[in-house]
């Protein structure tokens, strides 16, 4: 459905998106995840044809967005970030205008507008001016404008920003519904949102794709150990020595004493091992009663943070290497420059000395000449005096 091939977007010296490639299949809900300024919106703007990539190709349903933009854009419904709307229009006027922009005409236009108004729950406010609506309704109007014309691809840039929790759940369930008949790409920096709605996640950091996978796989990949939380009643205090009975356990960590005389421990083991069954068998033999045994569900948030951090570390190590190289180059350069400066100074001093010597000579000459003239004058005066 959507193919993004080696796409790069540069602004003067800044690379907003750096050589990214991915594809989105028919009927898939894909989430863009990344911090602010990571390149999510830029990528979406390029897919929708709002901006052109500096390099690379984007194909939407078989049409190149740069070459056959009209046909490609016809397949897309885009809800931009910040919910831009024509405030002076009523809800119905706005959605009708969006339908007209998407080349809908006549009866089909009327039917589509009515259908979308109903779907997004705007029937009661359809004749109200958009400027008088609440933020949640404005978001719905924007979504309705995106859905009108029944586009095959729906692109939503941070669709739940600024909504209250009830509105968020409504919009999320609506997006899930849309995913049944459409291909949906949505961006968010809310991790739980992505993990709830999306089948696949694309994590972007500094314009680069850090990972593409299902939320579950991303969690697994970034998990290093398996952790179990056990709440037990252990009157004989056998828990700390459990490691001897179950050698697969790597660590037993006491967490807390509960009010009901139970204790909570965290038991870690190798990622590939699931010790739940073993613990259920061994603990009763040790006269330990299990009150609760829970697997640590490492959230997507941890996976995301780990991925971003590892990417940052890579970048900083690359940068520091470059800096070192540059510094070395810089040191060499400065040494050469210093030597040059020294030579120049020497030459200047030599010139100055030469000039001084010349000036001295000239002065001495002048003095000699003056003295000679004086002597001559004296001699002449003496001679004249003698004659008189």
């Amino acid at each position: 459905m959507i193919e993004v091939k080696n796409v790069t977007k540069k602004y003067a010296n800044i690379t907003a998106v750096n050589n990214i490639s991915f594809d989105v299949k028919d009927g898939e809900i894909v989430g863009f995840l990344g911090q602010n300024g990571a390149g999510k919106t830029t990528t979406m703007n390029m897919i929708t044809g709002f901006i052109e990539p500096t390099e690379g190709k984007i194909i939407v349903n078989g049409y190149d967005i740069s070459k056959k933009s009209k046909k490609a854009k016809k397949q897309i419904g885009y809800m931009p970030e910040g919910v831009p709307l024509y405030m002076e229009l009523t809800v119905k006027e706005f959605i009708t205008y969006m339908a007209e922009l998407k080349l809908l005409k006549g009866e089909q236009k009327k039917e589509d507008v009515a259908k979308v108004i109903k779907e997004t729950g705007l029937t009661n406010v359809q004749n109200k001016l958009i400027r008088n609506l609440s933020r949640g309704y404005k978001q719905r109007v924007s979504l309705a404008g995106t859905l009108v014309g029944n586009p095959e691809v729906i692109i939503l840039d941070e669709p739940t920003v600024g909504l209250d929790p009830k509105q968020i759940t409504e919009i999320r369930s609506l997006i899930k519904e849309l995913g049944k008949n459409h291909t949906v790409i949505l961006s968010s920096h809310i991790l739980s949102e992505i993990s709830q709605i999306c089948e696949r996640v694309i994590i972007i950091n500094n314009g680069k794709i850090v990972a593409i996978d299902t939320p579950e796989n991303l969690e697994k990949k970034t998990k290093e150990k398996n952790t179990l939380f056990v709440t037990v009643e252990d009157p004989k205090g056998n828990m700390p020595t459990l490691k001897q009975r179950v050698p697969q356990i790597e660590e037993i960590k006491f967490l807390k004493d509960n009010e009901d005389n139970t204790k909570q421990y965290a038991i870690t083991s190798n990622i590939q091992l699931d010790l739940r069954k073993v613990l259920f068998e061994v603990l009763p033999k040790e006269e330990i009663t299990i009150f609760e045994l829970k697997k640590d569900e490492s959230s997507l948030e941890e996976a995301y943070i780990k991925l971003i951090d590892s990417d940052k570390q890579e970048q900083t190590s690359n940068e520091t290497n470059e800096n070192r190289k540059n510094k070395k180059k810089g040191n060499k350069a400065t040494k050469e420059e210093k030597e040059k400066l020294k030579e120049e100074k020497k030459k200047q001093k030599e010139k100055q000395n030469e000039e001084k010597a010349k000036k001295k000579e000239a002065k001495e000459k002048e003095k000699k000449e003056k003295q000679e003239e004086k002597n001559k004058l004296k001699e002449e005066n003496k001679k004249e005096g003698g004659k008189k």
Partner: protein
Amino acid sequence: MLSIYKKELKSYFLSPIGYVAIGIFLFIFSLIFLLAIFYNGAYDMGNLYYNTARFGLLIIIPIISMRMFSEERKNGTEQLLLTSPRSITEIILGKFLAAATLVVIILAFSLMYYVILCFFTKPSLGPTLISMLGFLLVAMAAISAGMFISSITENQVIAAVLTFVLLFIPDLTGLIPMLNLMESYMKFPAGLVSLSEVVSLLAYMIMFTLFTIIIMQRRKSVK
């Protein structure tokens, strides 16, 4: 293009802009009409349109054109237009023709002075209509310049001021006669259709419309 045209025309009257433009035009037109009647004791519809074009358009056109693209850009609604299957040329022409239609509506109001004169004398309709046609062409050329300015900034005030400067400076200084629209509105007020004036006004209009298309196309790769 029709849908963009309709929406744009509607927007002029959903905001104060359409009414303000009509009000300013009628104020200047009436003032010049009164001055001509009471001080000169004569009427000349051609002269009336010429003077209104010279002084009135300097104010009316920046008001009409300042929001054409600046507002869309500032509010982000530009994204809705540019990600739709409509071409940039369609969008620009839709907006341009809507602004031109507003000038036609403004001109329609000026006909009431013709009707008033009909009670006292027999003003000739032909030259009046030719003067109006010339006025419309000058206004459309000025709109194209204003539209171009509006496409390069997202600040409406800056767009209005720059449009005013672009229209006023060539007329004031006489420099760059090619950009002086009043140079091409000399024979129309006399009731004559001059081919050279029509061509130069059309050339001005096409030049700035093309500039706007180029700017909008280029913004796709720059922004």
